[in-house]
């Protein structure tokens, strides 16, 4: 018996296949693109091929992410808030606060001792500090998104981007480049700005987070520069990052699929 979780986000579509003992059998991340139905089919095919499992062996599928209600054959749809909480609880069991920065939203989720969500805060309508924001900044800095993570390593100034609006921040970056500011300093300033915004979200769910295990999920957790800046702004030594932060939501969905099936 196998259980599938699909997280259909704005930038990537992720899938996790679990066996009945809740072990990850395979996982896959593909770009969502403009046709999310195709991305869903693609990611599903990918996890099946990687595992060698037949589709009919999947007993239940739970979807999550902004396109959760578009996934064909799902037995349930659950929000990304619940799924990220569930997924991170499986990967890093002591977690009490999850920071998830995805393609177009960012959130802080507070969990009780049993891993149940008791509060959450999300960014409002704008994409400030999200994956889309980083894409725009990478474009302005003329680097690949993957290169952003290490770009700020030797930065020394305390520059912070003053605007978190994607449009204004991009124009600020262009102005900084024009004034001769080094690429690494700009990258550092950008990471600090994201961190500041993330800190606000965390404070909205936990006034006092000292001593709590704080973990991060979502694709942006692969960006070491952002992760370091967030840890600094939170005043903690390090953020806990799972091995595969981009599949946390899909893992949570697969776990819920498995639990619901076994309970029924």
């Amino acid at each position: 018996m196998y259980f599938l979780g699909i997280d259909i986000g704005s930038l990537s579509c992720d899938a996790v296949l679990l066996d009945e003992n809740r072990n990850i059998v395979s996982s896959s991340v593909v770009p969502t693109g403009v046709k999310n139905i195709e991305a869903i089919a693609h990611v599903k095919k990918s996890v099946l091929e990687k595992s060698g499992i037949m589709e009919q062996e999947i007993k239940s599928t739970v979807s999550t992410g902004y396109g959760r209600n578009r996934v064909p054959g799902r037995s349930g749809a659950v929000t990304e808030i619940t799924c990220h909480a569930r997924g991170i609880g499986h990967m890093i069991p002591d977690t009490r606060i999850v920071i998830d920065i995805g393609g177009q939203d960012s959130k802080a989720i507070f969990l009780d001792e049993n891993g149940k969500v008791t509060d959450f805060a999300m960014n409002d309508k704008c994409a400030a500090g999200t994956g889309r924001f980083l894409e725009a900044m990478a474009r302005a800095l003329e680097v690949e998104v993957d290169e952003l993570g290490n770009l700020d390593k030797e930065a020394t100034s305390d520059l912070v981007l003053s605007s978190m609006c994607t449009v204004f921040a991009e124009s600020e970056v262009v102005s900084l480049i024009a004034s001769g500011t080094d690429q690494k300093e700009i990258a550092k300033g950008m990471n600090r700005a994201i961190a500041s915004r993330t800190l606000s979200l965390v404070k909205r769910v936990a006034k006092d987070f000292e001593g709590l295990c704080i973990s991060m999920s979502g694709g942006v957790a692969r960006n070491s520069g952002v992760v370091k800046a967030i840890a600094e702004s939170l005043g903690i030594e390090k953020l806990n990052i799972p091995d595969e932060p981009d599949i946390v939501g899909a893992l949570g969905a697969a776990l819920i699929a498995c639990e619901r099936y076994q309970k029924a």
């Binding site: 929000t79 808030i81 959450f120």
Partner: protein, 402 residues
């Protein structure tokens, strides 16, 4: 345009009521009475006053003045989906897009000449000063006299005396514009109707507290705010009675579906005015809005022989008009009385009442184990609605509470 809108509403609802005279039809009767006020504002048979929300409409009615709070127009324009035209007009004329859209819509309506010209204007310092600014602007544009009722933010003897004196002065201001003296007999009757309506309202809210609650997500939407327009009239008493009868009928005929009440919530401040199926979405999730923050009777019965002080006490008893501590204490009381599982604050864009104190109200309700979902939504201007984001927040909130 607005006259036709209200006339069509009055004609349409009257027709429906005639077709079904034996049913209780509380909501239709209520809509009819409110639409009649709208129609009167545009026919000018009586003197007209634009007012703030907490102005004593029973007093104005007894003096033969058709009166209404300005935000009513913003809500109407939003519900008939024309608000964005007027909001844009206000913005194009220099009004800040980050101000309250109720007031931008009213300002736009004034600029486009669809606000009925008042004979005078009465504003109040509560619940918000943004409304006061709009009315001041209105007074200048229409070249009309403007009276401001300063409502103190604490419930003390001194405050009541301060407000009582102002209400007396307001009465003289009205008389000066209508050329008709106040009839104490008419005012006394209005207060008796108001008292009678209040008693029935208390019954309505007590019925709503039952588990499962006989209300649905729309029945008492913004009721506490709007019913104030007619509570001092015989029609107001009849409308309140119809709502009470409707709830009793639902209970007795066992029309309440418990599956629609897995979660009981309070809606903070005002609802969303344009067509957005949030009530249906909540119902599908098994969430019932059992109380709106402003649906409560916080005042004692008024003494018709001491009307001005009675009205002052009534106005000052409304926690929404007072300081944040009083407002939070009231929400906590509602949380206990209604056995709430959660609350939703729409955090209406640009509203200091809704957004300014949201951290304090969230913590205040958390203290009594009521989690709050703070949305970031404009309740009047539909142009920036991010439906997907709202749905995700609602759904996640429900998942959290179950």
């Amino acid at each position: 345009m607005m006259y036709d809108y209200f006339k069509n509403m009055v004609d349409g609802v009257s027709q429906k009521l005639l077709q079904d005279p034996d049913s209780i039809n509380a909501k239709k009767k209520y809509v009819l009475e409110i639409a009649k006020i709208g129609q009167k504002l545009y026919t000018r048979d009586e003197k007209i006053a634009w007012c703030g929300v907490t102005i004593p409409f029973d007093l104005l009615n007894s003096m033969g003045v058709t009166s209404c709070f300005v935000e009513f127009v913003g809500a109407m324009l939003s519900s008939n989906e024309t608000a964005p035209i007027f909001i844009k007009e206000a913005e194009d004329s220099g009004y800040a897009p980050d101000s309250c859209a109720y007031h931008r819509a009213v300002t736009g309506a004034m600029l486009k000449d669809i606000m009925p010209e008042p004979d005078f204007i009465i504003g109040s310092s509560s619940p918000c000063t943004a409304g006061l600014a709009v009315m001041e602007d209105m007074a200048r544009r229409f070249k009309k006299d403007f009276f401001i009722l300063n409502v103190p933010q604490n419930n003390s003897k001194e405050s009541i005396k301060f407000l009582t004196d102002q209400i007396k002065e307001m009465t003289r201001f009205i008389t000066a514009h209508t050329q008709k003296p106040l009839s104490m007999e008419k005012l006394g009757r209005a207060l008796e109707f108001f008292n009678e309506s209040s008693l029935i309202l208390k019954d309505i809210y007590n019925l709503a507290k039952q588990t499962p609650s006989p209300v649905d997500n729309k029945l008492l939407k913004d009721f506490g705010t709007v019913i104030g327009l007619i509570m001092g009239t015989r029609e107001g008493v009849e409308i309140c009675q119809a709502f009470k009868d409707e709830l009793i009928d639902r209970i007795e005929s066992q029309k309440i579906d418990p599956s629609k009440e897995k979660i009981r919530i309070m809606w903070i401040q005002n609802r969303i005015q344009y067509k957005f199926p949030i009530e249906k979405m909540l119902e599908d999730f098994g969430v019932k809005i059992v109380v709106d923050e402003l649906n409560d009777v916080t005042w004692e019965p008024m003494d018709p022989d001491n009307p001005f002080e009675s009205i002052a006490k009534r106005i000052i008893s409304i926690p929404y008009s007072l300081g944040t501590n009083e407002r939070i204490a009231h929400m906590q009381l509602l949380a206990r009385e209604y056995k709430l599982d959660g609350a939703i604050n729409p955090c209406h864009w640009g509203c200091r009442q809704g957004t300014g104190v949201r951290g304090l109200t969230t913590r205040g309700l958390k203290d009594v184990n009521v989690p709050v979902l703070n949305l970031e939504i404009d309740c009047v201007d539909s142009r920036n609605l991010a439906q997907g984001q709202i749905e995700t927040r609602l759904e996640a909130f429900v998942e959290m509470l179950t």
